[in-house]
């Protein structure tokens, strides 16, 4: 691997360095271009595997560059030296068995030399044994759900509100004013540093793919399959990625954010979110959630009495997170994409039972999924109440969690 190291500190930095300067110069010509980050290469990442992958990537890149120099060099020389305008007479040869054997054998040798380290890394990547922690990851259109199966809780992770507002067509919000535009979520996945985290990937509707470059790769989340992926992050930090498999209209808007935190912080996170267990929880762990810890609506019991204000208050945020992508935050839907308006809709202003039914069971064969399995009774009750009263729908109906439970 010393070859790679030399490469890295030698040509690599010169080449990319020059390119960086050249591209910055070009950037100056482009008004409004954000100058700060010119990412050019694969990140080295923060896991052992991601570093190995990076080394393999640089090695194969180096091999390609060397071959390119030889082949393109010969070609360019020939283009300049063997041209008719110089008065040369064309040679007559049309084959050379020796040359042909040489340029078949040498590439085979190079390929074998590449295949060995690649296979070696691959075998390690596939070894999901002895994990410290397992999280089930479910892809939905268009959000992720993380289940801490050992701890008995889980939550959705959706594009954060700031990005979501800015990304609407013609929103008038400049994306460069939004922190981590399109790469921020409401509730990130939280894992402890140094732990071997095993992710079990599946999907609820269509195929998605969970990708965080700094954690060394991606894995498809496929309905009916449970795929395994693991990483062991060596440094605390926030690592960002996106869904990589086309999954419909908002494929570009389902980021992945992973917070790798110190052990103690992770324990706080679990304590704040896990449902109370039978054993007595140590006082220090049941302390109120700190700023850094994510409050998870799904796990929180409904503490207050169910009322119109509570339902409408919760309903708005939940509606925007779970339904807004299609029916739009303003309730107008997107006729062109086949997403009906909720504002003034016959269903949302008509029979309550029919409205609850479509929320819980969806409409099979359309993009309208069944939300019964995804959301709690309280959440659905809040959303449907919100739909029935917002944007001038004004039915005055209050749907209760019990109504939802009865419709399941």
């Amino acid at each position: 691997m010393s070859l790679i190291k030399i490469w890295e500190f030698g040509q690599m930095s010169i080449f990319f360095g020059t390119f960086r300067r050249a591209s910055l110069a070009l950037g100056l010509l482009l008004p409004g271009a954000a100058m700060a980050d010119w990412e050019l290469n694969m990140p080295k990442g923060v896991t052992g595997i991601s570093a190995e992958v990076y080394d393999l990537h640089m090695l194969i890149f180096l091999v390609c560059v060397v071959i390119a120099v030889v082949v393109f060099g010969a070609m360019i020389y020939s283009i300049f030296a063997h041209r008719k305008s110089l008065g040369v007479q064309p040679a007559k040869f049309s084959h050379s068995t020796k040359a042909e054997i040489i340029w078949t054998i040498i590439p085979i040798g190079i390929l074998v030399a590449m295949a060995v380290p690649a296979a070696d890394t691959l075998i390690r990547m596939e070894d999901t044994r002895n994990s410290d922690l397992t999280v089930k990851v479910t892809g939905y259109q268009w959000k992720w759900h993380y289940d801490y199966i050992d701890e008995g809780f889980g939550f959705f992770s959706t594009l954060d509100r700031q990005s979501d507002l800015a990304r609407q067509v013609g929103s008038g919000i400049d994306p460069s004013t939004v922190d981590n535009y399109l790469l921020e979520v409401d509730n990130p996945l939280v894992v402890p540093v140094g732990a071997k985290v095993r992710l079990l990937m599946t999907a609820n509707d269509v195929i998605h793919s969970w990708w965080v470059p700094e954690l060394g790769g991606k894995k498809d989340a496929i309905p009916g399959y449970v795929n395994e992926f693991w990483f062991q992050a060596e440094e605390p930090g926030i690592y960002r990625g996106q869904c990589a498999e086309l999954c419909g209209r908002d494929h570009g808007f389902m980021p992945v954010v992973v917070r790798v935190v110190p052990e103690a912080e992770y324990a706080d996170f679990i304590a704040a979110n896990a449902p109370p267990k039978a054993e007595v929880v140590p006082a220090s762990l049941s302390a109120p959630a700190s700023e850094a810890v994510i409050a998870v609506p799904a796990a929180a019991p409904a503490p207050v009495e169910w009322s119109m204000d509570v339902a409408m208050g919760e309903g708005e945020g939940l509606y925007n997170a779970h339904c807004g992508a299609c029916h739009q935050p303003n309730g107008q839907g997107l006729a062109a994409a086949g997403f009906p308006a909720i504002a003034g809709s016959a269903v949302a202003t008509g029979d309550i039972a029919a409205h609850i039914d479509i929320g819980v069971h969806g409409r099979p064969g359309t993009a309208m999924a069944a939300f019964g399995p995804q959301l709690s009774d309280e959440e659905l009750a809040a959303i449907i109440t919100y739909q029935r009263n917002a944007w001038g729908n004004g039915t005055g109906d209050l749907v209760t969690p019990a109504d939802i439970a009865a419709a399941r």
């Binding site: 020939s78 064309p90 067509v169 793919s209």
Partner: protein, 524 residues
Amino acid sequence: MSTATTTHGHEDHGPTGIRRWLTTTNHKDIGTMYLVFSLLMFFVGGAMAMVIRAELFQPGLQLVDPGFFNQMTTMHALVMIFGAVMPAFVGLANWMVPLMVGAPDMALPRLNNWSFWILPFAFTLLLSTLFLPGGAPAGGWTMYPPLVLQTGNAFPFLIFSVHLMGISSIMGAINIIVTIMNMRAPGMTLLKMPLFVWTWLITAYLLILVMPVLAGAVTMLLTDKYFGTSFFLAAGGGDPVMFQHIFWFFGHPEVYIMILPAFGIISEIIPTFSRKPLFGYSSMVYATASIAFLSFIVWAHHMFTVGMPLAGQLFFMFATMLIAVPTGVKVFNWVATMWKGAMTFETPMLFALAFVFLFTIGGFSGLMLAIVPADVQYHDSYFVVAHFHYVLVPGAVFAIMAGVYYWLPKWTGYMYDEKMGKLHFWISAISVNLTFFPMHFVGLAGMPRRIPDYATQFADFNMIASVGAFVFGVSQLLFAWNIYKCARGGKKATAQVWEGAQGLEWTVPSPAPHHTFDTPPVVK
């Protein structure tokens, strides 16, 4: 033998005007129709690419809804692959294969007429979905279920147009095989055939083997959607990954279907303008055949992230890496052909040289993509978009353009405008790199493909790519204008056209008369 009219004046009793084109069974007429159709689709697909690049010009959604963006990426791919690149190669085969093997026409002329005339219907069907409520298909040209099953009214249109394209391709392929096998001039043994004919022979076999597989896959989609089957639906006991295996069993040979004839064209042009015979003719033939064989055992390298068993991943990695060997042989042979030649640099040669450089860059990124651990990072990112556009645009499309400039004088009887051709070349060659090279960087840095909007750190390279794409798009008008001008008149072309050209097609006058080789030439 001086002009077209005197040689076949007795033929002119057939229908004229539009009916001539509807009913023609002449391989040259049909070749022309294929090529014109392909050019038209190149601009339709190109317009969609312009929409994509305009939306990606800067972060934020300025112009289109994300759903429409997905329709554009899906339709751009379908139109370019099945409407522009494949018909262009079939058109070139129609025109040139009979001329190159000394045959009077294609073996099955009526089938030939039908293979072409299916295409306008297929694409009318496909493009009409843009005007349906719910819009065009938006699930990607790869049509992965379950997503593609969410397509609305456009779904049956998609399936049936794919069926029609498949029928057209299979019929065209049968015709080419039968022509090559049965209609060669006396003395034209298989190993004397020009490489363009060889590559097309092999391509035609690939088409016959894989188009029915695609037809089967999309038919299963159709029954999953409308007839209650669950081939690909997990809820009914089906398997969404099985579709991917079936699709790529078609899809991987398909990418060679789009590049082998390009290899053939380049192998004609480089010797002509190097004034030196092709280096390693027989190893070129064997390399083409090995690439074709390998193309059937590498399909799952498109699916390294679906969770295949380790052994499967290793097998597909090794098999994929192997393809680099015969492909390398081809590139080395082209360079050796140029070596110690006496080169001139007319437009066809310029495009051919750019092809060798830029296709090779696409080959390098292909080799990188074969390395599974690294592919797990590259997969479904813009790195892949850069890779396949390098092999398809400065690869396949440049080869088609090289071929068009090369044979245009033979078709029209006039020389095209060389100055304009060179201008077209230089603008295209520079802008194509401006468009696709930066995509490597954003892909490596983490930008997924098929997204309408992106995080701000990808902004600068996307802007460069968009500028490149607009320039590339506009410069293709030069190409169309040059062809149009050349068809209308210009400097008269000789039969030989190019000083160093070899082969039967250069023994007939320019323009090639309506009927050629009524008595077969004898090849020594």
